[in-house]
Structures are given as C-alpha cells and as structure tokens.
C-alpha cells in the first residue's frame, strides 16, 4: 500500500509543478459563479421557491457544483488513452503494481491538489465574497464522505473509458460522450428536482446521480435528516463497489487485446 501512497504523493507534486494552471481555474470558476449568480437571481425574481428549492439552496447547489465538477474530473481516460497510444502503458505493466490502483492513486494525488487549490478557495469565496449563508446541518458533516464516494464513482467511469482505449486506442469521442451523459444525467448543471417527475424517477435508478446530485444535496439541504442521507450514502457505496468490481473484471479482458507498437 505504501507504494500507492508514494505514487499519490508524486502526482500531488506534479500538480504543484503546474500550479499556475490552478490560478486560471480559480479565475474561470469565479467568472462562472458570477454568471450563475445573476442568472438564478433573475429566475427567482418574485419567487420564494422553485420546485421546493429556495434561491439560496439552488445557488449553493449550482456554485458548489462547478467547484466539485473540476474536482471530480480525473482525466484518467485521457491519460490512459495517451499512454496506450504512445506505448507507455508497457512501463506501468512491467512494474509490480495493479493498473486500476495505480491509476486511482495517481488521480487521487491530483484530486488532493485540486481540493486544496480550487475547492477550498471556492468555498471561501462563496462564504466571504458572495456572502452566501451556508446552512448548517448533518448533511454538511456527511458531505466529505459522500464526496470521496462520488470521486471513486467518477474514477470508475473514466477508468472504464480508459480501458476501452485498449480496443479503440483513441477515446476522444467516447470521453466527450461520457462527459455529456454524466453532466446532464447526474444533476451537475441543475438539481434533479428541476427535471420532469418521470425522468427524475428514472435518473434516481442510474449511477450518475450518485456523483453530483447526492453530495451537492447534502450541502444545499443539510437538514433532510439521517433518514434521507443514509440511504443516499448506501446507494453511492453500492455503485462504487459494483463499478469497481465490473471494471476490474473488464480489465482482465481488455488487457488481452493490448498491442504495443513502436519499440
């Protein structure tokens, strides 16, 4: 296990090397948060609630969503596809490490990097610049756990697309498609409450909502109580275990078709 933590530490240090990228990320995020602030302000004009959500709840959901969005991007699919095409995958496979855990811990290093460089500053911005009152409640306490589970889920999807790279070499189209599906169906852009009821019901049965809707709801509506949050965490945990197992199984198939060209 120490090996994987060493790789995580290495990835964190690489993140530090590219620290200026984070400044631009924070600046970009700030602009996005301003735009959504005024957008939702005008949507909520003369209205107390929309679909049961107050402005404050919706805005916390959407603004935090944009910060979490950057955080949950693992880029594992792009990285793996690059490594498969360039043949670098051979050097990973020649080491006594498990590919799934190698990719996971490397991406966790970047995760911790963006957590400390983007997410936490964004939360400060929310509280001190936009003067959003973050409602206190048990949801807030559970949020970190939910976020970690959400990250693992996001990783599973990216790793799955990365494994498809063993077959297709380039995963450009697949990655974009995955990105769109997850963004729309997970409630990353707008809370699931804003979807038509029938669609909402279907979405709750899919794994996507466990990535964004679950952790964001915990902060936006922290008073829903254990009765709501525990089943939500349970569903997240179920999907994490299921998708981890499925991608592990898929790996044993995918690695068989590996072809390394050029040297």
């Amino acid at each position: 296990m120490r090996a994987y933590f060493a790789m995580m530490r290495g990835a964190y240090m690489i993140g530090l090397v590219y620290r200026f990228g984070f400044l631009f990320n924070i600046a970009g995020n700030l602009i996005y948060m301003s735009v959504t602030y005024f957008l939702w302000r005008s949507i909520y004009q003369n209205r107390e609630t929309l679909r049961g959500l107050t402005f404050n709840e919706t805005y916390i959901y959407v603004a935090l969503g944009s910060a979490v969005f950057i955080l949950l991007k693992t880029y594992v699919d792009w990285q793996m596809s690059f490594d498969i095409r360039e043949g670098n995958i051979a050097t990973y496979l020649s080491k006594p490490v498990d590919l799934q855990l190698y990719e996971l811990f490397t991406s966790l290093g970047f995760f911790l990097m963006s957590l400390s460089a983007i997410t936490i500053p964004t939360i400060f911005l929310l509280i001190f610049v936009f003067r959003i009152e973050v409602p206190l409640g048990i949801g807030l306490a559970i949020f970190p756990f939910s976020l970690i589970l959400a990250y693992l889920l996001s990783f599973c999807f990216d790793y799955f697309i990365g494994l498809l790279g063993f077959y297709t070499e380039s995963v450009w189209g697949l990655s974009i498609t995955k990105e769109i599906i997850i963004t729309v169906l997970s409630g990353a852009l707008i809370p699931l409450q804003f979807f038509p009821d029938a669609i909402q019901k279907i979405l709750l049965w899919l794994p996507f909502q466990a990535i964004y809707y679950t952790p964001l709801t915990m902060v936006a509506q922290p008073d829903l109580g254990w009765g709501t949050f525990l089943p939500m965490l349970g569903v997240q945990l179920f999907w994490v275990i299921a998708l981890f197992a499925l991608t592990r199984l898929f790996y044993t198939q995918a690695v068989k078709v590996l072809r390394i060209s050029g040297g």
Partner: protein
C-alpha cells in the same frame, strides 16, 4: 532448471486491413476485414542465470514482442514461457518483482519530477528497504555520477543522462533478470561506451541475467558471450558470439559518393574491382541510397586500405564514409548460409 525457458513460443496479432483515403476510413468503421500477423512464430531457447544475451534482429523481427511476453505485458498466443518457473503473464505482479525493464524509447521515470523522487517512488513500488536503497544509490553514484542529477526534473535531462537514470532504476530492486530494449538508441559514442561499462559492472556485481536487444552490433560485441538472431519471428542463430563475430567483425562497408555518378560508372567500378582484386575477393557492391555506392569488404581477405586507395586513384570520389556492417547485412549473410 534454466532461469528463462521458451518453447515454441508464438504471438499473433489481429490487425484491421485499413483502406486508403477518407471514404476508405469510413468503410473501415464497419469492416471485419482482419489479417493475422505472426510477430513471433515458434521461438525456443533457454537462458541461464548470470548470462548476458544479445537478442538481435532487424526492425519488426519480433524482438520487442518476445521481450514484452517475457515481462508479462503481452499474453503469448501459443507455446510455453517460464521465467523462474512461472508464466509471466499469469503472475504479472509477482514476476515484475524479480525483473527490471528498460524500454529505450520511453522512460519509466516520472517526467515532471526530480530524478530522486522517481527513485523514491520506485523504492516503495519494489519494497526496497532503506539500507539497500542507500547502498544501491552509492554504488550508482560511483558508477555513473548521478548525484549531480538528483534534483533535476527528468524532462530536463539529456537523452544519455536519462538513459543512465533509467538503467539505474531498473537495477534498483536487485532483480534476477533485466531486459534492456534498445538501451543505446540515439546516443553518441562516448555515452554508449559508458552505458556498456555500467551494464557490464551491474551484471558482474550481482550476477544479474541481462537480455539485451539492440541495433548496434558494437553493444553486442562489447557485452555478450551469446547471441540470438531473430528475423520474421523465427530464430536464425543461437550460439556463441565468436562465430557471428567473424561475420560482422571483419566486414566494413565503404560508402562512396562519386562525381557524375551513372550506371556505367557503377559497372566500371564493379569490373575494375574484380579485375584488380580477383573474383573471390569478398567484395560486394550495392547502390543502397541515392548518390552513395556501398562496397562491402571482408578485411580478412582484402585490406580495406588497398580498396580505398584503388578507388580514390581511379574514380572521381567526392566523399567517403566507412561504416561497420549493418544488422540487415548480418541477417542477410546468415540467410545466405554463412553460419552453416
């Protein structure tokens, strides 16, 4: 039992037959038109602990594919392959612990991190204890002088420095066998010499088995006692280097650039050389590249200097290069029955 055992090992790849042009690319989307390429076709050999074996052959001969099967990266299509008694592919993680690999065209180091950080990560990956790690680092410093590079980012290293670091890294966990796939590719003479001496030293120090693929026959001459030549997925020769040495050791190719070169000049050159040195002179002439005529000379039979001065005196030569015989020529000579 030998450390590495291959018996009738083969590997086939299925490759999509791609068509030309944009419309071809579209039709390829729905194509089931695959052809099978046999990269390795029934290879057998045994390698004992402590050997340095040169595994050579021209481009696309199947060298790298064999290496990738021995390291457990690729799954063999058929035959038996055992390293230290186990099948590498089915026991990849366990087997990786006793192997070291350098792929000359890529690095196993972390591109954006300082060299020493890569070593530290590898130390954890291979579970090398601190004492052994320190001892190894000291030894490598003595051998290669790496200490000055420790704080440098890997991507700022020169190719030669990076290769020395990569080789060092592959020996870090004191593996039983190290695969060096083109370790001297693209390096200049002095760095090549250094790398050769380091490899030799490391082999001597721990009796590490080394399997070396290379294009540079100089590497093989300097390092190996045994050589395996492979072409088109089949073994052409497996044995003592001394017999092969006679093949490429004595041969030199004289590359000539002749003013106003034409087919007639080539013919005159041929006939005059035969006239002067006799028919059985061990000289072959070929026009391999534009403007360059290759005269390959067996120095055991005809002194190179004689041929050179004869050509210089009789033909309007603009430029001359003398090169060692190429891998392709060695393989061609083996095909022609030179080792039979």
């Amino acid at each position: 039992m030998s450390l590495i055992h291959l018996e009738n090992l083969s590997k086939q790849f299925k490759i999509l037959n791609r068509r030309e042009g944009l419309s071809g690319a579209f039709r390829d989307l729905f194509s089931g038109d695959y052809r099978t390429v046999e990269a390795v076709a029934g290879v057998s050999f045994d390698i004992e602990a402590g050997e340095i074996v040169g595994y050579i052959g021209p481009n696309g001969a199947g060298k790298s594919t064999t290496i990738k099967m021995m390291t457990g990266i690729l799954k063999p299509s058929g035959g038996t392959l055992l390293v230290n008694g186990l099948a590498p592919y089915d026991n990849r993680i366990r087997q990786a612990q006793i192997m070291g690999v350098v792929f000359g065209q890529r690095t196993q180091l972390w591109w954006d991190l300082p060299v020493i950080e890569s070593f530290k990560i590898l130390k954890e990956i291979y579970k090398v204890d601190q004492k052994m790690f320190d001892r190894h680092m000291d030894m490598f410093n003595e051998l290669v002088g790496l200490k000055s590079l420790h704080s440098q980012q890997v991507r700022t290293l020169s190719l030669g420095q990076r290769m020395l670091c990569d080789i060092t890294a592959s020996f870090l966990h004191n593996p039983q066998v190290v695969f060096l796939d083109e370790p001297t590719i693209g390096l200049d003479i002095s760095v090549k010499a250094k790398i050769r001496s380091v490899i030799k030293e490391l082999n001597r120090e721990h009796n590490t088995t080394i399997i070396l693929t290379t294009h540079d026959l100089g590497d093989v001459e300097a390092l190996c006692q045994r050589i395996i030549i492979i072409d088109k997925g089949r073994i052409l020769y497996d044995g003592d280097i001394k017999r092969v040495n006679a093949l490429f050791g004595a041969y030199r190719t004289l590359k000539l650039q002749i003013n106003n070169f034409s087919e007639t000049i080539l013919q005159t050159l041929k006939s005059k050389l035969i006239e002067c040195f006799g028919a059985e002179h061990g000289i072959t002439i070929a026009e391999n590249e534009e403007f360059w005529t290759d005269v390959t000379i067996d120095q055991a039979r005809t002194p190179l200097s004689d041929v050179l001065s004869f050509v210089m005196n009789n033909f309007p030569v603009i430029d001359v290069r003398i090169v060692e015989i190429s891998m392709e020529n060695v393989v061609r000579k083996v095909y022609d029955g030179a080792l039979k």
